[in-house]
């Protein structure tokens, strides 16, 4: 038994580790991993020790939670401890770490930088998963349930990751989980077998049990193996399940490496599905910026028949500054690109580019779109770019756009969809009165995953009444699924119908860290809308939901749908008033842009975690616990006694004491010098037992008498079992004959629980006696 316990604990710890390990791909550094491993080991060790010390399962979990919480708090916010004990300041410090993590998660897409808040939250999450898995698998011995926390941990990565989750990340935890199931099932089934064999002491039965055990185990094993194989095979065989979840991660396949340069299509067909994903690297880079905007390759305003295409624009004006607003030099960053395989004349660079350095190769910046072009392909270059950081209040006051840069194309809406788009955008932007709030409303509307589904597979194209293919935007409106191109197009069209000039930008997501450089792969290709704001130029928005998308720029972040009701504005204004303080405290990371809305949102979440609310919640929980303290105590004592019972006699005595104590609560006392038979008569008459239950009572006392006074080996398990049922039936009937007040009192104030607390001082301080 002990060895099994060891094994199941070890398996649980390994399964937890393997399930949380993929999280390493979500963050740029892995320094949190040793801490997580330590916490998992700590939980496993505590579980082992706890289960050795006490039979109360809840106590074991409590021990794990308390000690783990203490260790985590001590290691992260230990400086707030007073005399090795947490203080209210500790809660605040932990809270601020959580807020920091929330901020980081809101701000960055994977892989996000690692800071103390993220580490703290990760370790807490790992600890929770570890405790849950250990409790279910080892403490409660039902590892089947432990699959849920494991799956949760796995899904954290799967749902947030950018790249494909390798198959092993799924297979290893599942294999460990199945091993836990197997270990426990064997142990439990083995117990049945021996119990039966001992009771009936018939060799046939015992042999039969062993056979049954073997066939059951084999059957379960086969079933489990088949289940995993099917889980792996079915998605691979079925063609129409868009993201092949198990084998491809979030729809990105690992295959199809391409050599040489990567061409970039100048047209984007909205009706084309994006099933073919190329993992080959396009370029690698380093940047001096803290945030990493997407790398833009080109922008276009020309949309026709469901396709975006680049107009034959020629911007032969080298070194022209373009129509940019003046940018604070402190918000200029340099990106050094190498291993560039992007075919000329395109260059990937964050927008807006201020200067380009590529060792003598001629280059130009398109005056209208801001694209950088070169005459020939270069493998490495440096780009100086600006971080546009207009503040939302300024943007709101920017006024109507009337720059020369804006062409008719920037406001064109396809005729076939005009009515639909107008109606759709009016609906989305209702109540908003300035371009920024409208844009944010549109963006948030599209990012709402409860309305729209991100999918690389667009499915069948819909047809209208006449059987013609629907215009892609209408198609998107109907199917509500698509990838970045559909979302970006929808945002552009919706913005245009509101009079905001908008165009399509095409490029790459910022890529992932590999070593000390970021690697951008072909599969990072992305499209996003740019909206024109008078005086600020083209500003990026991010309407594509899901992880397969960029981070919205700071000015475009507003608390969820709150912006649509106009509440966002008020909040942001009050925040601007105190802007200085909140920005100063904001972060060391917040770089260029103070982010008023984001702060507000976070603070509003943070307000829910004030000390007062926490204390209130704790008080509520404590109050509930106090109200049910006695029943819970009685229940725990009963449980402990029943579990501590080794022989049938002890089990029977426990049941009987339970009954007498319950009858005592109901007013049927058991005087000291009364024998079982006398007590039985007392219960039969006093409890108004009917004939059936009186017989049951006689059976109970006969069994008890036998167990107490006859030879111990004569009491059989069947008798103990029947006693259990008889007692339950008797309890029910006697309960019915009592007044409800008595029953309530017997429930809330059971003597079994009360006496425990009453005798506690004596047991704690035996010397006082």
């Amino acid at each position: 038994m002990t060895r099994r316990r060891w094994r199941i604990t070890l398996l649980a710890a390994l399964a937890t580790l393997s399930a949380v390990y993929p999280i390493t791909s979500l963050f740029v550094e892995t320094t949190w991993l040793p801490q997580a491993v330590f916490v998992i080991a700590l939980v496993a060790g505590l579980g082992l020790v706890g289960r050795g010390l006490t039979r109360s399962r809840s106590l074991v979990v409590l021990l794990q939670v308390l000690v783990t919480a203490y260790v985590i708090l001590a290691s992260h916010v230990g400086e707030t401890f007073t005399v090795l004990l947490p203080t209210p300041t500790t809660v605040e410090a932990a809270n601020s770490l959580g807020l920091q993590a929330l901020d980081t998660i809101n701000r960055y897409s994977a892989p996000a930088p690692l800071n103390e808040g993220i580490t703290f939250c990760l370790v807490v999450a790992v600890a929770l998963v570890a405790i849950a898995v250990d409790a279910m698998a080892a403490t409660w011995r039902s590892p089947a349930a432990a699959g849920l926390p494991l799956l949760t941990a796995y899904l954290i990565t799967a749902a947030n990751g950018q790249s494909a989750l390798a198959l092993r990340f799924f297979v290893v935890p599942v294999a460990l989980w199945l091993m836990m199931l197997h270990t426990t099932a064997r142990a439990q089934f083995g117990r049945w077998g021996t119990a039966n064999a001992a009771d009936q002491s018939e060799i046939d039965e015992a042999a039969h049990d062993r056979d049954a055990l073997r066939s059951f185990t084999m059957g379960a094993l086969k079933l489990g193996a088949v289940g995993v194989v099917v889980a792996l095979l079915v998605p691979a065989v079925i063609p129409h399940l868009p993201p092949r979840y198990l084998t491809e991660g979030l729809g990105r396949s690992g295959g199809g490496a391409g050599e040489g340069s990567v061409g970039f299509n100048d047209t984007l067909d909205l009706s084309r599905s994006l099933n073919d994903q190329d993992q080959s690297p396009v370029l690698t880079y380093t940047t001096t910026g803290f945030t990493r905007p997407p790398l833009r390759v080109l922008a276009t305003s020309y949309y026709s028949r469901g396709q975006w295409s680049v107009a034959g624009s020629t911007g032969d004006q080298p070194d022209s500054g373009t129509a940019l607003p003046p940018v604070d030099p402190r918000r200029r960053y340099v990106m050094s690109v190498s291993d560039n395989t992007l075919a000329a004349p395109r260059i990937a660079a964050p927008y807006p580019v201020v200067a380009v350095g590529m060792e003598g190769t001629p280059w130009s910046i398109d005056k209208v779109t801001g694209d950088v072009r070169t005459d020939r392909a270069v493998s490495s270059y440096e780009v100086t770019y600006a971080d546009l950081a207009p503040s939302p209040p300024e943007l709101r006051e920017s006024g109507a756009p009337d720059a020369r840069d804006i062409t008719d194309d920037d406001l064109t809406i396809p005729d076939r969809s005009r009515d639909l788009i107008q109606q759709w955008s009016d609906e989305v932007t209702r109540g908003q009165d300035n371009p920024l709030d409208k844009a944010i409303a549109i963006q948030n509307h599209l990012r709402d995953t409860s309305r729209y589904t991100y999918s690389l597979d667009l499915g069948e194209q819909l047809r209208d009444d006449q059987g013609r293919l629907l215009e892609p935007i209408q198609n998107f409106y109907q199917t509500r699924r698509g990838y970045c191109v559909q979302f970006a197009t929808a945002m552009i069209m919706l913005a245009r119908s509101q009079g905001i000039p908008a165009r399509m930008a095409i490029g790459f997501l910022p890529g992932q860290l590999s070593g000390d450089r970021y690697v951008v792969r072909a599969s990072d290709a992305h499209a996003w809308p740019e909206l024109y704001f008078q005086g600020y130029g083209w500003l990026r928005f991010e309407p594509t939901p899901s992880a397969r998308s960029g981070t919205p720029p700071p000015y475009a972040v507003l608390g969820a749908d709150g912006g649509a009701t106009g509440g966002g504005r008020e909040v942001s204004e009050t925040n601007t008033a105190s802007g200085g303080a909140s920005t100063a405290s904001a972060t060391t990371q917040a770089t260029a842009a103070p982010v008023p809305q984001q702060q507000t949102f976070i603070e509003s979440v943070g307000q829910a975690f004030t000390l007062r609310n926490i204390v209130l919640a704790l008080a509520l929980i404590l109050g509930l616990l106090a109200a049910f303290a006695m029943p819970i105590t009685a229940w725990l004592l009963r449980l402990r006694r029943r579990r501590a019972a080794v022989t049938q006699q002890e089990l029977i005595e426990a049941e009987w004491d339970d009954l007498t104590s319950h009858f005592g609560d109901l007013g049927l006392s058991a005087p000291e010098g009364v024998t079982l038979r006398q007590l039985r008569e007392r219960y039969v008459t006093g409890g108004h037992l009917d004939e059936e239950n009186a017989t049951a009572m006689r059976r109970v006392t006969a069994t008890l008498e036998k167990s107490r006074y006859d030879l111990p080996e004569r009491t059989t398990a069947q008798e103990a079992f029947r006693l259990h049922h008889d007692i339950r039936s008797i309890r029910r009937q006697v309960g019915r004959t009592r007044a409800w007040q008595t029953r309530m009192r017997s429930f809330f104030w059971p003597e079994a629980g009360v006496s425990f607390w009453r005798s506690l001082p004596d047991r704690l301080f035996p010397s006082r006696r």
Partner: protein, 348 residues
Amino acid sequence: MGTTTEDSVTTTDTGLGTTASPGSSASPTKGAADLGLIHDVAERLMGAMTSVIEGKPDVVRTTVTVLFAGGHLLIEDVPGVGKTMLAKTLARSIDATVRRIQFTPDLLPSDVTGVSIFNQDARRFEFRPGAIFANVVVGDEINRASPKTQSALLESMEERQVTVDGTTYTLQAPFIVMATQNPIEMEGTYPLPEAQRDRFMARISMGYPAPSAELDLLETHGASSPLDALTPVTDAETINRVVHAVSKVHASPAIRQYIVDLMTRSRSTTALRLGASPRAALHLLRASRAFAALEGRDHVIPDDVQVLAGPVLAHRLMPSSETQLARRTTAEVVTDLLRQVPVPPSAR
């Protein structure tokens, strides 16, 4: 008047010193009480006794219990309720040697134990066994004998042997002394001292019969004594086996604890001047075993102990002056004890 009436019903196997040791008698099942045998013998004995002693099933039951437990019985009641009849009935129901001793103040110890007489022809002392040399000894009016004679009887009761002139003679088994005494007639009596009362396993009192039983009694006993029609239903050897079988009845640790608890409480209670002796505990356990066997159980339960606590304990206890002043009997004190002492296992 040193009258020693001899009421020898049968004379089978009265050889001196022959002992059928309980251990040697074959027990049908090793380690477990032979409930079938006990039940069978008890049925026949009680059937026979009930045909004579009518309307007193409890008294009959206790008598048989004491017989099976290998103890001695003290029957105490007013004259004429059938004390001697009870003793004689039991004696007759068993095919064994029976003697009856009528105790009088001038009865000598040698009348009870026996005496060595010089045989002129053989030129040596010969031992002539006294009345005690029998399986069943009925001692009538035991409190009328002098303390010296009483003690001669009581010593042999406990040790089951008699020592005369330096020679030890073992008494036969089974050996049961049924003594009667009259509690009311105090003139010219020597009440048994506590130490001697302690040797009786149980004391019972007959009590008056119920009116209907008395009516029946007048009818049946009017013509001839039903005792005459009584024939033995069992023999000494069987009783030996029964006694041995009873000793195998299981008494769990809880039961032994209960008995010890009762004894301890009797020694500490203020209602008593003298509590129960360890011998009382032993007797109570043995009697409980026999009673359980009579009930058809092979294990003792607290109810057995409670039923027998009164008969087994009451005559050994000495009431304190407060109890006497309150005119409470020791039997009532025992009832109180039973009410106070928790039945194990109750301590958690």
